[in-house]
Amino acid sequence: MTTAEKTQTAKTPETAPKTAPKTAPKTATETAPDMTAPATQQMTGAEMVLKALADQDVEVVFGYPGGAVLPIYDALFKQNQVRHVLVRHEQGAVHSAEGYARSCGKVGVVLVTSGPGATNAVTGLTDALMDSIPVVCLTGQVPTHLIGNDAFQEADTTGITRPCTKHNYLVKRIEDLPRVMHEAFIVASTGRPGPVVVDLPKDILFAVGAYVGPEQIKMKSYRPQVEPVPDAIDQAVELLRHAKRPIIYSGGGVINAGPHASELLTKLVRTTGFPCTNTLMGLGAMPASDPHFLGMLGMHGTYEANLAMYNCDVMLNVGARFDDRVTGNLKEFSPNSKKIHIDIDPSSINKNVKVDLPIVADAGNALQAILDRWNHKKCAPDGAALSAWWKQIDAWKAKKCLSFDQQGDVIKPQYAIQRLYELTKDRDDVFITTEVGQHQMWAAQHFHFEKPNRWMTSGGLGTMGYGLPAAIGVQMAHRDALVIDIAGEASILMNIQEMSTAVQYRLPVKVFILNNQWMGMVRQWQELIHGGRYSESYTEALPDFVKLAEGFHGVGLRATNVNELDDVILKMIETDAPVIADICVDEKENCFPMIPSGAPHYQMLLGPDDQADKPQSEEGMVLV
């Protein structure tokens, strides 16, 4: 269950759009729906949509207008409670809503038109599904009597989005509209969160009916289990107290369970003295500066985290799903451990890895129960075994798997991120989003997070183009924060149009491009398993990113030399406007350590020399 952190979601100040001010006739406000009217009030479908959004405490909607949703845009025009951010592409709208949701814990809301509006949103919806992000996406639809007739801008939106949403609705009767609107928010935000589409035919938006408030909604089915079974908690505590080589492995489920769950995780780790590793999605749940934290695990995780996973005897998985990027070769995944798996989604349990003790519950509730039980029974870990285990872990740490060699004038990408971290770490308001590729992994490795909800990255789907629109969403939720999209020069071009959105709403997002002129991760794999045949992974004719920023009325900066780096970073931070910082980095650098696809945890490549010694298995080559 996601619990919105109320303190973080303080109402953001109203911003006037830079261009195209509202030229509302005086009468428009007078016809506004009365938000304080009794729940049985008659209104149009479009007014109901706005009323439901207001009742669901929605402050901002990311959207793009079109024929089928014009009635909603008209209703939007006549009220002041819900603000709208006009994106430049519907994919950007969904990623913005995701960034908003992930940074403040509330549901992100999207409004797009029928046909291409809806199909453009599909990538974002799939992204939100894979990463369990609460999003409600309202799509316009052709009028009910035209559905199925191949009408202009018609698409089978519920058909197309069925496999990429947690649930979707097509509203065919005005009587159903208020219920569906409220259900959409319930489904999106409870249990394992996810995207919900509400498809709204245009005639329904004009139809008049009785509004029903959210307090009157009771769902017929759908009851996610959030409380753990006490007996399972007892068994978990017994396993943990007798563990000799324990590890706590936590994921995005802890972040989704709200900031309190992250506090409980930290408390459990400190109470037990166990080592803790986070998945890519879970970074920030455990403060990176804590000595118990081993860093991220998985394909580009740390040596110590992965070897601790391989060698542990008890594994406590909290809100992670044994993704292939984490497990490596399943047959050799942590072969000698008893596995406890806490997940709110029963279908995540025993999907990839058979576990010994499943606990279906909200991560926060389960962690609280374990802590209570541990304290109640006055448990203590096996001290001698634990210190021997830490000694072993420290030996792995001594490998310094994340080290890199910054020599000469050319900026190493890792160094750029290290400097970005060092120059921002004293601030309490830094939010990082990323695109997808090498820069994303370097950011996960070298930027450190002390708090949850500060790290927004496309983990499951791996969507290039995620970072900039997500940063816009984050900045909408935290107007005065420093929001940085750590990007690659290839990814950023996938949603670069959103610079225009950032400028319009005066959102001072920073795009920090590690520009190596290659699709770095593609090239790295081509080196690893395709004999260095760099098929189409080099981008010729890249734009001048400084001029590009200026063209969007933003600010462009560039660093080509290591001596310029700090100045550019400081200038970027200081600038109260959207910035693109083009950091020209070493073209040939690859991302290590790395567990190649299909390899077990102990076969980590620590650097380029290591790679030559360990030829890739054929089994691994067919994996992604």
Partner: protein, 170 residues
């Protein structure tokens, strides 16, 4: 690898548009098998349907299938009848056989042994209705095929638990 098992699963759902597509989409999208699937409304007032699906896979896959089905919003509960124990399974088939002469007599005789009802008859054809286990219907069709040109239509399996126990959340 674990052995492949066949399970009969009852899925009780809200009878709303698209619910069958959700169930079928889940099976095709995740690569699960459907050996048979039947669906019909069982409670008109509450608008509830019951889907009976026969599927196969390793025990881990079967667990996944049930967990994935339970996750669908309009699903009320999923009951694994194979796991719950003793249950009865029945299927209904309509079989048309076109033949003449002695084969017609033989077809009627066999239909009688299988307790099949004759729903329609002409001088050149019969339509039989037969109810029973999948195996029984397979056997009946095999015999009819030997006696003439056939056309077959089957409902797929419906199943219910024996005894006083009723299907509900596992």
């Amino acid at each position: 690898m674990s052995e492949i098992e066949t399970h009969t699963i009852a899925v009780v759902v809200d009878n709303e548009p698209g619910v069958l597509a959700r169930v079928i989409g889940l099976f095709s999208g995740r690569g699960y098998n459907i050996e048979s699937l039947t669906v019909s409304e069982i409670d008109e007032e509450q608008s509830i349907s019951r889907i009976t699906v026969v599927t196969s896979g390793t025990p881990m896959v079967i667990e996944q299938i049930k967990a994935q089905l339970e996750r669908l919003v309009p699903v009320h509960y999923v009951s694994d009848l194979t796991l719950e124990g003793s249950h009865v399974e029945r299927e209904l088939a309509l079989i048309k056989v076109r033949n003449s002469g002695g084969n017609r007599v033989e077809a009627l005789r066999i239909a009688d042994t299988f307790r099949a009802r004759t729903l329609d008859s002409t001088l050149e054809s019969f339509v039989f209705e037969v109810t029973g286990s999948v195996k029984k219907i397979d056997a009946f069709i095999d015999l009819m095929q030997a006696l003439g040109e056939t056309e077959v239509c089957r409902t797929g399996v419906v199943a219910i638990m024996r005894g006083e126990k009723v299907a509900s959340t596992n």
